[in-house]
Symmetry: C2
Subunit: 345 residues, 2 copies
């Protein structure tokens, strides 16, 4: 199998290198090809998602991404929108057809103290957020800024809702069988469609799943005050962006949050943290999320659950014995990565 | 001065009665006129914001609202959207021209233990969220559900952005002088306008204010993991809905969160909690948020800061000595209200 890595900007190259080292150990037969994306791709090719990267994806079985983007005051942010690093990422998601973004939120036993929540609330949390990734205000072409007015359009169609809801129901079948669909149906027509279609699909094809609907404002509250009420959460693109970053605080560090984006072709696997320009190049970034994303790549991309489990166990061990700085420890990127490598059985 | 009270649905009448009792004590000269809104107004007049209520607002100096809406499975939710209780509330906001919703988030000294956050994070939190309340996807007429597609439009104009930003800057001048404007400018054109206009207004008229811009997903994370970094937060309607409910978890109970909605005419004052149909009519609801909203009414609506301070002090005392059930205590609505009344100096 062939994997394309896209290290990207900021701490992306450092954490991707760590993930690649672990991947090579667990799956020595994979071919790894590295390409450019984001700000660095713009600097090199004048395009945050250049044709050479696009071409390399054609025969890839999975894609491992680092991070894209610069600091708030970076020159990249002064570029026209379609040339900015983030646009490269959005174009990549679109090109791969990855419509379902899976973000597991798990508090590892023994690591409850890292959470900003009281330990009794954090203990045992195990949520899977399924975020729709190719629709809504992110991609709808009906958008404009013009003089003193601007707008974006939050649009969904039934097929878009159904395909991501299917992923959520399927995931719930391997978990506790409960799905919470999140919307703002008391205000938005687009949420009315979302709620109707998710319900109809459950009634038609997933009768064994327990489905409930909650409003996004209420979920924002409940996910931090009573996280153990959730199993699988499914929601549209913008709500999913907000809620999954929010949920990421529960384990105590964005550095612990991997993600998988699945669709029709090759999957995209990436840590959810940003490019952290303030610590880029210093060798201190926590690579755990990137390494766990490589684990998700093995599980969902290459269908190698044993390799994925191996990685998860090794990361959990390394986190306990060599916590990185974001976790209040002292391990740098290399020390942590070596700890993971030597914990692989 | 004349105040219109709109107790509404669920626990609304109970908490409004408590707030009225306190108001009568602190401001015995005000005239209070009660009217219907929400589900109960629909049941009585076939309209969640009936003409008789609309008329009563004409010469009101301020409006004190309870809550609107029923349980998720309430028959009201099967009505056409414009007849549902929530539409009554939205129409009321519009009729009053209340474009700036102020939601203070304060952790009272000695009540840190109520927070789901670790006490050291909750201690001393004092944030003011200013939510734009009449624009964005909530009110834009370009919206539709039709067969298998639906959309809403998130639109803003410069005057809409400026008037609410002015309120945020003005509030920051009485506080620590810092404003964080929240958007999703890396994805949305409407956020680009928002950011540009907020910045221009600061540069023109509020040079003493320290302004920074953050993305909504990042703020969702930071507001619970590092709340003390914020002073005043200003944001558009939908982001404000989500973030202010989220921030409400910091003090430990929605029951502690009052709000004020200000605009051109009479202000609207309401607790941010919902109608809590599960405990409605049982006399156990926590009326603190409604009572504090009456305090905000005195401060912002009638310009009587002494009365407002009197109420705030009395509520803080009552919370310590007679905590209600949502706070792990045993006081019912009446006991708590009496405690507030007797703590008024
Ligand atoms: C960088 C940005 C465009 C992106 C998004 O909003 O999707 C990020 O926040 C994410 O969640 O992956
Ligand atoms: C009831 C609903 C329409 C309302 C809103 O979304 O504005 C509520 O959530 C609020 O925040 O006051």
């Amino acid at each position: 199998p062939k994997i394309v890595t896209l290290p990207g900007d900021g701490i992306g190259p450092e954490v991707t290198a760590a993930a690649v080292a672990v991947l090579r150990e667990v799956a020595p037969d994979v071919t790894i090809e590295e390409h450019l994306i984001g700000g660095i791709a713009y600097d090199t090719h004048g395009d945050p998602f250049p044709q050479v990267t696009r071409d390399a994806l054609k025969d890839a079985d999975a894609v491992l991404l680092g991070t894209v983007g610069g600091a708030q005051d970076s020159a990249w942010n002064l570029l026209p929108r379609h040339l900015r690093p983030e646009s490269g990422l959005l174009a990549l998601r679109k090109a791969l057809g990855c419509y379902a973004n899976l973000r597991p939120v798990r508090v590892q036993p023994g690591l409850e103290h890292l959470s900003p929540l009281k330990a009794e609330l954090a203990r045992g949390v195990d949520i899977l957020i399924v975020r729709e990734l190719l629709g809504g205000v992110y991609f709808d072409g009906d958008r404009k800024i013009d003089g003193d007015t601007a707008y974006n359009t939050m649009r969904y169609t039934t097929p878009e809702v159904e395909r991501v809801a299917r992923v959520a129901f399927w995931a719930a079948e391997q978990r506790k069988g409960r799905v919470t669909s999140v919307d703002k149906a008391n205000v938005l027509e687009v949420s009315e469609l979302w709620r109707r279609d998710v319900t109809a699909l459950r009634d038609r094809e997933y009768r064994g799943i327990h489905l409930n609907h909650e409003y996004v404002d209420s979920v924002a509250m409940l996910i931090v005050s009573d996280p153990s009420r959730y199993d699988v959460i499914v929601t549209e693109n913008l709500f999913g962006d907000i809620l999954s970053d929010l949920a990421a605080v529960i384990p105590g560090s964005l550095g612990l949050m991997p993600s998988a984006s699945l669709g029709d072709g090759a999957g995209l696997f990436e840590p959810i943290h940003g490019s952290a320009p303030d610590i880029a190049g210093k060798g201190v970034a926590n690579p755990a999320a990137a390494i766990m994303s490589a684990g998700m790549l093995l599980r969902h991309g290459l269908k190698r659950p044993e390799g994925a489990n191996q990685i998860d166990r090794a990361v959990a061990l390394a986190l306990r014995e060599h916590p990185t700085r974001d976790l209040g420890g002292r391990a740098d990127t290399q020390t942590f990565t070596r700890a993971v490598l030597s914990a692989l059985e």
